[in-house]
Each structure stands twice: as structure tokens, then as C-alpha cells.
């Protein structure tokens, strides 16, 4: 089920954003044309320039392999997400690329990360934590020519006495500019690691959306705040959309993308905010929010009305009431009853014949 649709009422970009986008697109197309004149191989990218950003021209990092059992999981395609027993050794291949116009020296190392207050947090430099201390990357130093790329192996050796639970880290690729004068630029790209440790099957991810609250920001912009409770055993990377249905005069609006870069730790409850267009009427609306993390998806709805200012009381959210299963059930009962009736009538007709034979 596609969660993203083109914006309808109110979700349009402002005029200035449109202009910026158009300008930026023009710049990209211009750049790509120049590139395609130099390198014929780049012509393919140029033909798809409508939506393709300029080719990476900095330091890039990507995952090259993912576990077979997580092939469908969108999170596992971007991050190292796994569940292992204590004492396990895991390997993942990553690839570092240099898109700059000069050669680059790149350092690869693990660093600590944590999930707090709804965000995946990185730390500075080589700050270690438990998971990062079990992690090594070979080779740790790579010299890449212009437009070069090389793979490296991330090895995580989970000790046999590791405590069960989920741990977080980042695999960093770092490049530094020369220390000439002024400011030395350090660029880092990280791949997040979510490693669940425990014996047996992976703990299931689960969450509930407990309530929806309508609110208005100081600048008058309407917002919806959903309260998300992580009831499972894994951290959640939330994404999703909100739709406003059954509004005044039968209006509907959205879907609006959920404003979050939110990672909810196990057991935590975090607010998830959706910013809406200013011209949205106050309501009442039936707000339907769909949130997902990986393959998990939840849809709930609640009737909300936007306040003139501040935040309205949170309305408990419930799963959408779907009529068709009941209709189907009613249909089955009807058909069943009819068949029963017909059979009975048939028997009544047949019975005397049998008796007299």
C-alpha cells in the first residue's frame, strides 16, 4: 500500500519554495549537462535529471549487503539492523566512495550512539560505547582516488556475556581537508547500527498510537500531535502520513508527511508532530494517521478540532472502524440462511416421494 501520494489541499509548497526548487533543478540540469559532455557514461543520469539529484560529490557511504531474512525491511536496507545471540560474530560489507575532484584519505571507525528523547543521537569523534567497542572495520584507513570507491568489512563480535537488549552505534567514514588556514573541514557519513542481543527469536517490534491532539503553533499554523508508545522490544524509526477526512462541508486534506526524524526507544512514549497548512479550517475533522517502522504499520483515527491557540485536549485514538468485514459477514449469514431455507423446502418436497417409493 503506497503511503505517499502527491499533496492535495494545503500541502502545496509556498511560492518561494517552488522558485527555489525550480532554480535548484535548473542548476542540477546544468551541472549534469556539463558532466555528460565530459563523460558520455553520465548521459543516462542526465536523461533522468527531472528528479535525480546531482551525483554525489563528497564522501559517500552505503551498505552493500543485508541479511536475507530482512530483505523486505526498509530499515535494514539503510542501517545495520540485526538480532543476535551473545557470542555471535557478524560481518557486513560497506562501501565508501569519493565523489570529490581530488583524492581523499578516509578513516573508518565505529562510534557511540544512543536513542534519547525520540532521536537517534551521535557522539563526537571516536567516543566509544559497549557496542562500538565490539565493532571493528577493516581496512580502517582507505586512500581513494577521484571518483573511487572501495569496500570494507564491519565486524561485530558480541561477547558471550553481553547483556540482552538493543544497543546502538554508528559506523563512520571520515575525511579531513588539509590544515592550511582558517577552518579545517571534517566530513563524516555514518551508517546507524541497531543491534538487538538475546537468545532465541528476535523480539518483535510493536507500538500503539494512543492519542491525537490538535494544536496551533505561535505563528497560527495548525498541528496534530500523536502520542506513540513503543510497546515492543526494538527501537522504532517512525515515518508516516496524516489525513484529515470528513471535515466541514465534506472537505478532506492531506496526506501530510509526519514531521519526524524520530527514533523511539523501547518502552518510551514520544510525541510525533504533523505540521499542516495554515488555511485548514478548524474542523471538526476525522484525523487518520498512519505510522510505520520497518515492516510494521499502524493506522488510527480520532475526531479532532483545531483550537484558536495552544493545544486542545488529547483525544484517545482508535483503529479505524471498517464496515466491509461486517457487511461481508452479514452477506454470508444471508446466503447461509437462504441456502438452509432452500434445502429445507427441497427436503419437504422430496420427502413424500421417498416415503411412497
Amino acid at each position: 500500500m503506497p503511503m505517499f501520494r502527491w499533496p492535495r489541499l494545503g500541502a502545496e509548497l509556498s511560492g518561494s519554495e517552488h522558485r527555489l526548487t525550480r532554480l535548484a533543478l535548473r542548476i542540477v540540469v546544468g551541472t549534469l549537462v556539463v558532466i555528460s559532455a565530459v563523460a558520455p557514461g553520465a548521459a543516462e543520469i542526465a536523461s533522468a535529471a527531472g528528479a535525480t539529484p546531482a551525483p554525489s560529490d563528497g564522501i559517500g557511504l552505503r551498505l552493500v549487503e543485508i541479511p536475507v531474512n530482512a530483505a523486505d525491511d526498509p530499515r535494514a536496507q539503510k542501517y545495520i539492523v540485526d538480532h543476535v545471540a551473545p557470542g555471535t560474530l557478524i560481518h557486513r560489507t560497506i562501501e565508501v566512495s569519493n565523489g570529490s575532484d581530488s583524492s581523499a584519505h578516509i578513516s573508518l571507525y565505529p562510534g557511540a550512539a544512543s536513542v534519547q528523547d525520540g532521536a537517534f543521537l551521535a557522539t563526537e569523534g571516536h567516543t566509544p560505547n559497549e557496542l562500538s567497542s565490539w565493532t571493528s572495520i577493516t581496512p580502517a584507513e582507505i586512500d581513494l582516488a577521484r571518483a573511487g570507491a572501495q569496500t570494507a568489512t564491519v565486524t561485530i563480535a558480541v561477547p558471550a556475556d553481553a547483556a540482552p537488549g538493543e544497543q546502538y552505534a554508528l559506523i563512520w567514514a571520515e575525511a579531513r581537508s588539509s590544515a592550511d588556514a582558517g577552518v579545517v573541514a571534517v566530513n563524516r557519513v555514518g551508517i546507524r547500527v541497531y543491534l538487538s542481543i538475546g537468545s532465541g527469536a528476535a523480539p518483535a517490534a510493536d507500538f500503539t498510537v494512543d492519542s491525537l491532539a490538535a494544536a496551533r503553533a505561535d505563528n497560527g499554523q495548525p498541528m496534530v500531535i500523536a502520542s506513540v508508545h513503543n510497546t515492543g522490544g526494538r527501537a522504532l524509526d517512525l515515518s508516516g502520513t496524516l489525513e484529515l477526512l470528513a471535515g466541514p462541508g465534506g472537505l478532506s486534506a492531506g496526506p501530510f508527511p509526519v514531521n519526524l526524524n524520530t527514533t523511539v526507544a523501547v518502552g518510551d512514549t514520544e510525541p510525533v508532530t504533523v505540521e499542516l497548512a495554515t488555511e485548514i479550517p478548524n474542523g471538526p475533522w476525522m484525523a487518520t494517521i498512519t505510522l510505520g517502522s520497518g515492516l510494521l504499520e499502524r493506522t488510527v483515527e480520532a475526531s479532532i478540532t483545531f483550537p484558536r491557540s495552544g493545544t486542545a485536549a488529547a483525544v484517545p485514538a482508535h483503529e479505524p472502524i471498517v464496515i466491509w468485514p461486517y457487511l461481508t459477514l452479514a452477506g454470508f449469514i444471508l446466503v447461509g440462511a437462504t441456502v438452509l431455507l432452500l434445502v429445507r423446502r427441497q427436503r419437504r418436497l422430496v420427502y413424500p416421494v421417498v416415503k411412497f417409493a
Partner: protein, 179 residues
């Protein structure tokens, strides 16, 4: 007796060897993986920026300079779940070799400015300006990215230069981390 001892020792060492060999085998990779054709997450920051020169003043002064364009390109696999990324920025204090005076990182500010989005412009970008770059903090965060896209901005660095600085070329290290 001697022979028995020898046999025992030999058996023990074989056993030890077996254990030694068996351990890494039992701790071997248990996850089957498959290769994927995946896009990269990348960041570009201008190589080295020159912040200008400033005469020493009694009351201190403020230097404002543009760092140059920072670009984040996200070509990781996109799907209905979308993607998100965060850019943290931090700095070390300005130091000059042989000088005892420094400009602390807490006196360096970071203003994001306008973020230009390319590719999937409907995604949401949240920006935060920093009054102190002493600790790494999120400056730009993108969420609900549903297709390959990039974002670019040209941050302004504000340096509160204290009074009584020695004349020298001071260098700081500014880190941008995308994850």
C-alpha cells in the same frame, strides 16, 4: 608410567587444540546476507574556509564569515517508509601554534540559513542554529524523504573574538556528521 603420562599429555593437547579450533567455528557468522544495489548517503563541505582577518580590539569583536556550501545527498533505497537523516555540527576552538590565546568553541556560532532542496522537495527539513559549537548538535534534519534527493545550505559562522588576542593565524576544525 611415562608412556601413560605422554599419552595423557598428547590427548590433552589435542583436546585443547580441538577446543581452540571449535570456538571460532561456533562463533562464526550465523546471519546469511545478500548483496544489494544501494545508493549512498553522502556529504560535501568545502575543503578549507578562510574566515578573514580581524584587527585586535580592546572590547573584542565579532567575525562573521560564510563557510561555503554544505550538500547532503541521499540516494539510499527509498520506499513507502521514507528515509530521514540528521546533520550534526561541532567545532574545536581556534588555536594558533605558539600562541597561548585561543577562541573557545563556545564563542563560535552556526547559522544554517536557507536550505535548498532538490529531487524530493516535499520532504521536511528542520533547521537549528547553534550559539555554541562546543558540543555536536543537530543543525539540519530531514524526514519523510521518499525519493533520492539532496539538500544544500551555506552556513554562516560567527566568531566572538575576545580582546587581547595575539596576532596569528588561528585554525579551528569544524565537523559535519550526517547519519
Amino acid at each position: 608410567m611415562k608412556l601413560k603420562m605422554r599419552i595423557l599429555l598428547a590427548t590433552m593437547s589435542v583436546a585443547a587444540l580441538t577446543v581452540g579450533l571449535a570456538l571460532p567455528a561456533s562463533a562464526a557468522d550465523t546471519t546469511t546476507t545478500l548483496a544489494i544495489e544501494n545508493g549512498t548517503l553522502s556529504i560535501t563541505v568545502p575543503n578549507a574556509a578562510y574566515m578573514g582577518s580581524q584587527p585586535n580590539t580592546v572590547g573584542g569583536s565579532v567575525v562573521t564569515a560564510s563557510l561555503g556550501q554544505v550538500t547532503v545527498s541521499d540516494a539510499r533505497p527509498m520506499n513507502s517508509a521514507g528515509a530521514s537523516w540528521t546533520v550534526n555540527a561541532s567545532a574545536t576552538g581556534f588555536v594558533a601554534s605558539g600562541q597561548s590565546t585561543t577562541i573557545p568553541a563556545s564563542a563560535i556560532g552556526y547559522t544554517v540559513g536557507t536550505v535548498t532542496k532538490v529531487g524530493s522537495p516535499s520532504y521536511i527539513v528542520t533547521t537549528t542554529n547553534l550559539s555554541s559549537m562546543a558540543t555536536a548538535a543537530a543543525v539540519v534534519a530531514a524526514s519523510s524523504v521518499y525519493s533520492s534527493s539532496s539538500a544544500a545550505w551555506n552556513p554562516t559562522i560567527t566568531i566572538k573574538v575576545p580582546s587581547g588576542m595575539s596576532a596569528a593565524t588561528y585554525t579551528s576544525m569544524i565537523t559535519h556528521s550526517v547519519f
